[in-house]
Symmetry: C2
Subunit: 605 residues, 2 copies
C-alpha cells in the first residue's frame, strides 16, 4: 500500500482548490517577502563580514525555513512551472552550494560561527535543517528536474554517514529535533540509494538507547522532550516536544513499512491510539503546553492556553497519512481529516498572508493585559495572526502542506483503492484514473469514478453515523468496500452536530459544534453580547448557509444567553435565560475579521 | 458608631469558640516554633557578628511577622494572662528595645545591613514593619498594662514624623506597603495623642499625589501596585497588591470616620462596591493574580490559579468592619462574614498548625507536574498546607484574626446596637450587656438578649431570603430594627442553596453550594470517581449532617456523573449520566485529609 502522491491529482475548486489558490497566489510571496526582509536568504551566502557590517547574524534554524519555502514552491511548480519563481530558488541554491564546505557540511550558522562546534550541540538543529533541505531538494528535483540542491544534500549526507555511523565522532548520536529521518526515506525513494534508508533506520533504532545523547538533557529539556524516554519500539505515550514527536512517529511509520517491522508498526499504532484517544484537541491540535511546546498527560486540553502549534497539527496529519499505508483502518484518515480542516489551517489567515503559531480554542480578550499592577504579563497566545515569527517554522510549513494536500486523498494497493479524503479532483496514477465530484465538506455528497481498480474502499468518516451509497458495500474498519463499481455515489449526510468530550475536565458539561469534519466556533464578531454567557440547546434546529468568505458554511441555531443583570453571586433558582440565535463560523476561520472573543466549547442548558 | 472591641466579649464554644481553642492551644506555639527555627526572634537582637558566624541574616519584613505573633498572643491574653507566654514576649521586646537606635529607628534588617539606606527604598517594608509593631504594642499594652513596646514605637514615630512630615527627607513620601496608616489610628485611640492620627491622614492624603514616590515604580510594580494610580479620594476600582489595598482602604475608612470626611467615605464605599460586586470570589477571596499578588479586572476570577492570599481576605474583613462603623448597611457585614467563614480561615488547617498562603477554588491534581518534557513547571498554588513560608505573613495574621474575631460582632451607637455577626457569646460594654445563644452557622437560630439598648438592629444576611423573628421589626439596608425588645429570637432558616455567579466566564453554567454564609466544596476524599465529571441537580434534596471534625455540617445531595466511557469526542446526544450522591464539605476545611482534587463550582445538568 502506498499513498498516491499529490502531483498525480488536479484539485478543481471547492474548499481545497480555493485554499490552494490563496496559497499559490499569496502565501508563496508573503513568506518570501518576510524571509527576505529578515535576511534568511542573504544568510545562505555565509558571509560573516557582510553580516557584521550590516549588524545581523544568521541563525541555526534558518536553513530549514528557506528549505520549507522551496519545498512549498516546488509543489506549486508541479502543476505549472514558473520561471521567475525558479530563478529565485536557483539563486538560493547557488548561494548554498557556493558556501558548502569541502567536506560536504553546510549550515548558514555553523559555516561561519562556532565552526569548531559542528555536531556538538544536539539541540542545535543541524540535522533538522539538513532534513528540510533534503525534502526541498527532492521536491524541487521532482518538479523541475534540477538536481543541484540534491547534489548538495547528497554530499552533505556522505559526511553525516561518516561522522554519525562510521566514526561515531559527533557529540551526539541521534538528532535533537527529528525530521531528517522522514526526509531520508523520501530521498531513498527519489534516488533508490538504500544508504539513506539505512541512515534513517539507524537514527530511529538508536533513539533512547544511547548514553551520549543524555549529555544533552538539561533542566529545560528532559529525555521526554526528545522522545528519548524509551527505545522507540517500547514507547506507548506521545511525549515531549510535539512537532519533534510527530516527525519522529512519521519516520517510524515509514521505516516500519520499508522494513516490514511489525514491532515498530505496533509502536506507531499505540502512539496513534494514545494521541487520538487521549491527547488531542477536537481540532486535531496536539501539544497542549507552551513549556517545551510539549505533550503533557492524558486528557489535559486547556482551551485558552492551548499551545497546539500549527506545525504539530500538520505533523499529526503526516503521521496519520503514513499509518494509512500500513493498515487499512479509517481511523488514521479520520484524524488526518480532523487536523487538515481545523488545527493546521487555522494557522493561516483566510487571505493567506498572516499566521498563527499557537492555535487556542478560547480567546477571552478580557484576560489579555488584565493586570495593571505590573508590566509582567500573564501569558496567553496572541489573538491576531502576524506576518512573521522569530521562529517562523509554521508559515512555510502551511505552504507546503496546503500545496500538497492531495497527498491525503488515496492509498493505492494495486487493484484496490482506498479513498481517504474527499476533494473535487481528477487523478491519474500508474495507468489508473480517479475522478471525484464533490463540494465536500460543504455538503456530504461524493461521486467517485474510477478506472483500473477492482475494489474501491471509501472511508466512512467516524463523525458520520448515517450515509447512503449507490451500490452495495461491505464495511470494515471504517471503510465501505465496493467491488466492481466504476461509479460510486455516496452521501455522508453532513449536518451540524453537537459533540461532547470525555475526561477533559475543562469541557465537562460543554459541547462543540461540528459540521462533518469541520469544528466550529462562536466569535464576538457575529454574536452580540458576551459569548461566555451563551448556552447550547441540544434540540435546536440549524440553518446552514454557504459563505464564500470561509469557503465553508456558516451555521446559525437557537441557544440561550444567561441574563447577567444579577448581583455577582445569587441563588441559582433565580437564574434566567433569554433565547437567542447563535451564529457559528468554521474554527479555522477564527480571528480573521478583527480581534474578538472566541470559543469552541460552550455549556449546555 | 463604633465596633465593640472583642475583649468585651466572651465567645462560648460553637464554631468560633472551637476555632479559638485551636488557635490558642496550637497555632500560638506552632507559629512560635517555626519563627524560632527560622531565626526571626534571634534577629531582633540585631547582632550582625552572630548572624555572619552562624550563616544567616535578618530580613526586611521579619519584624512584622514577630509583631503579628505578639499581637495574636496579646489577644489571647485578654481572656487569660499567661506568665510563660508573657515572658517570651517580654524577652523579645527587651531585645528590640536594646537594639533601638539613639534616634528611635528600629528594624532588624536596616539596623545592621545597608544602614545608610534607611527610608531609601519604598518597597522595603520599614513602615509596614513599624505599623505591625504599633498594633502589637497597643494590643500587648491593653492586655497586660506593659508599655515597653509602646515606648519603642512612640520613640520610633517621633523620628518618622520628623523625617517624613517635618523634613521630607526620606526617599519616598508614603509607605510602599500600607499598614501603618491603620495602626496609627489604633495608637491614637490607645494614647489619645492626635499626632498619630495626623500622621495617618498625612500618608493617606499624600498617596498618589506626589512625585517622589514615582521613582520607586518599576517594570515589576507600577503605580497601581501601590494604589498610587489616583489620589485616594478619586479612586473607584480596587487595584494592585491586594493586601496593601485592603490595609489602605481600612485606614481610609478610619480616617473618614475620625475626620468626618464624607469625600473619603464615598471613596471607601465605591471601592467596597467595586470589590463586592465585581472583584471578589464567592469565598471572600480577593486579588486573583499571582503576578503582583494583585487585583486584575472586573469579573476575573479564575478558580484553579486563584491567588486570593489569606491575608487579603482577612484584610477585606477588616475593611468591611470599619465600613460598618461609617454607615448602617448590612452589605458590609455580609462581605465580612463571607471572608470570615471562607477565604480567610481556609488559610489554616483544622488542627491549627499548617497554612495556605494562596487559597484556590479548584485543585486538579492531574495538572500538577504534568509535563515530563521539562523541569520548568506550570505554576499552580500548592495543594497541602505547610508549616511555614519564606514570606510567612499569613500564619500570624490568621492567629490575630481568629483571636479577635469577636471584633466583628457589634457596632454600638449609644442606645442603638447593630448585631453584625452571630456567635454564642456574652458581651459587656459600657454598662450594657448582650448575650447571644446560637449554634450559628450550624443552624440559623439566634437568641439575642440585650440590656441597655433601645433599638437592636439585627443584620439579615444577604444569602437569607426567608427568616422569622419573635418580635416586630422594620427592615432597612439589610438590618431588621427591633425597638424595645430585650430578647429577640430570630431564625435565618439556614439551608443548603446552590449559588450562581454573574459575568465570571469560568463559572458560566456552574453553581456553588452555600449553607448560610459557608461556601462548600467537593473533594475526591469524600466522592469516588472523577469530581470533574460531576453535575449538580438544582432540584435535589439535601441531607445536613453535623461534623465535629469541621465544626460545621457536611452536606449530601443527589447529583449526576457524566459517563466517560466514550471515545474522546462523540455526539452529544449520546451523553449519558448516572445519578449519584454528592458529598460536600465546608470550603474552609478543604485539603485537611490528604491531597485530593477539590472544586467549588460544578456544572448544572
Amino acid at each position: 500500500m502506498k499513498h498516491i502522491p499529490f502531483f498525480n491529482t488536479k484539485i478543481k475548486g471547492s474548499f481545497w482548490g480555493e485554499r490552494q489558490d490563496v496559497s499559490k497566489n499569496v502565501t508563496i510571496d508573503a513568506v518570501y517577502d518576510r524571509f527576505k526582509e529578515t535576511k534568511r536568504f542573504e544568510a545562505l551566502k555565509c558571509n560573516k563580514e557582510q553580516q557584521e557590517k550590516e549588524g545581523w547574524s544568521s541563525h541555526i534554524f534558518w536553513d530549514s525555513d528557506v528549505a520549507k519555502w522551496i519545498e512549498g514552491v516546488a509543489y506549486a511548480l508541479e502543476e505549472k512551472r514558473d520561471e521567475s519563481l525558479e530563478k529565485r530558488i536557483d539563486d538560493l541554491i547557488d548561494d548554498m552550494c557556493a558556501s558548502q564546505l569541502e567536506n560536504g557540511y553546510y549550515n548558514c550558522y555553523y559555516n561561519i560561527y562556532n565552526s569548531d562546534k559542528k555536531f556538538a550541540y544536539r539541540m542545535n538543529h543541524e540535522l533538522y535543517c539538513l532534513g528540510h533541505l533534503i525534502e526541498a531538494a527532492v521536491a524541487y528535483h521532482h518538479a523541475t528536474g534540477k538536481d543541484k540542491l540534491l547534489g548538495l544534500v547528497e554530499r552533505y549526507l556522505d559526511l553525516v554517514i561518516r561522522v554519525f555511523v562510521k566514526e561515531d565522532s559527533a557529540q551526539f548520536v541521534t538528532p535533537g529535533h527529528e525530521e531528517i529521518e522522514l526526509a531520508l526515506v523520501k530521498l531513498y525513494h527519489a534516488t533508490g540509494d538504500k544508504k539513506y534508508l539505512e541512515l534513517s533506520k539507524f537514527f530511529i533504532d538508536k533513539k533512547g538507547c544511547n548514553e551520549k545523547d543524555k549529555d544533552h538533557y538539561s533542566n529545560w529539556c528532559t529525555a521526554y522532550y526528545f522522545q528519548d524516554q524509551l527505545p522507540v519500539r517500547e514507547q506507548t505515550t506521545a511525549e515531549g516536544h510535539s512537532v519533534r514527536a510527530m516527525y519522529l512517529y512519521s519516520a517510524m511509520a515509514d521505516i516500519a513499512k520499508e522494513y516490514n517491522d511489525t514491532e515498530l508498526q505496533r509502536a506507531c499504532e499505540r502512539l496513534f491510539e494514545n494521541i487520538s484517544e487521549k491527547r488531542m484537541y477536537i481540532t486535531g491540535g496536539v501539544g497542549s503546553s507552551r513549556i517545551g511546546e510539549a505533550f503533557t498527560v492524558d486528557y489535559d486540553m486547556p482551551n485558552e492556553t492551548a499551545y497546539t502549534e500549527t506545525c504539530a497539527s500538520i505533523g499529526l496529519a503526516l503521521f496519520c497519512r503514513r499509518l494509512s499505508e500500513l493498515k487499512p483502518d479509517g481511523a488514521f484518515a479520520d484524524i488526518a481529516e480532523k487536523a487538515m480542516y481545523n488545527g493546521s489551517i487555522s494557522g493561516v489567515s483566510i487571505d493567506g498572508d498572516t499566521f498563527f503559531y499557537e492555535n487556542p480554542l478560547t480567546i477571552d480578550l478580557r484576560n489579555h493585559d488584565k493586570n495593571p499592577a505590573t508590566k509582567e504579563k500573564e501569558r496567553y497566545p496572541i489573538t491576531q495572526r502576524v506576518k512573521m515569527f522569530g521562529c517562523s517554522c509554521c508559515p512555510p510549513n502551511i505552504l507546503r502542506f496546503v500545496n500538497s494536500i492531495a497527498d491525503f486523498l488515496y492509498t493505492d494497493d494495486g487493484k484496490m483503492l482506498y479513498v481517504n479524503q474527499y476533494m473535487n479532483s481528477e487523478t491519474a496514477f500508474e495507468g489508473k484514473r480517479i475522478v471525484q465530484k464533490t463540494n465536500y465538506p460543504s455538503d456530504g455528497k461524493v461521486r467517485i469514478e474510477t478506472e483500473g481498480y477492482d475494489v474501491v474502499a471509501v472511508r466512512v468518516p467516524s463523525w458520520c453515523d448515517d450515509f447512503t451509497a449507490s451500490a452495495q458495500y461491505t464495511m470494515k474498519d471504517g471503510y465501505a468496500y465496493f467491488a466492481n463499481d466504476s461509479v460510486i455515489e455516496i452521501d455522508f449526510h453532513i449536518r451540524p452536530q453537537f459533540i461532547s468530550s470525555s475526561c477533559i475536565h475543562e469541557n465537562t458539561g460543554k459541547v462543540a459544534l461540528q459540521y462533518g469534519p469541520i469544528v466550529y466556533c462562536l466569535e464576538g464578531t457575529d454574536n452580540e453580547g458576551d459569548i461566555f454567557s451563551f448556552f447550547a440547546d441540544l434540540d435546536t434546529e440549524f440553518e446552514v448557509e454557504n459563505s464564500s468568505y470561509f469557503s465553508l458554511p456558516i451555521i446559525t441555531c437557537g441557544g440561550y444567553e444567561l441574563n447577567n443583570d444579577k448581583e455577582l453571586y445569587y441563588p441559582a433558582n433565580r437564574r434566567t435565560f433569554t433565547e437567542r440565535k447563535l451564529r457559528f463560523i468554521p474554527y479555522y476561520g477564527m480571528e480573521n475579521r478583527g480581534e474578538t472573543d472566541m470559543i469552541v466549547w460552550l455549556p449546555v442548558k
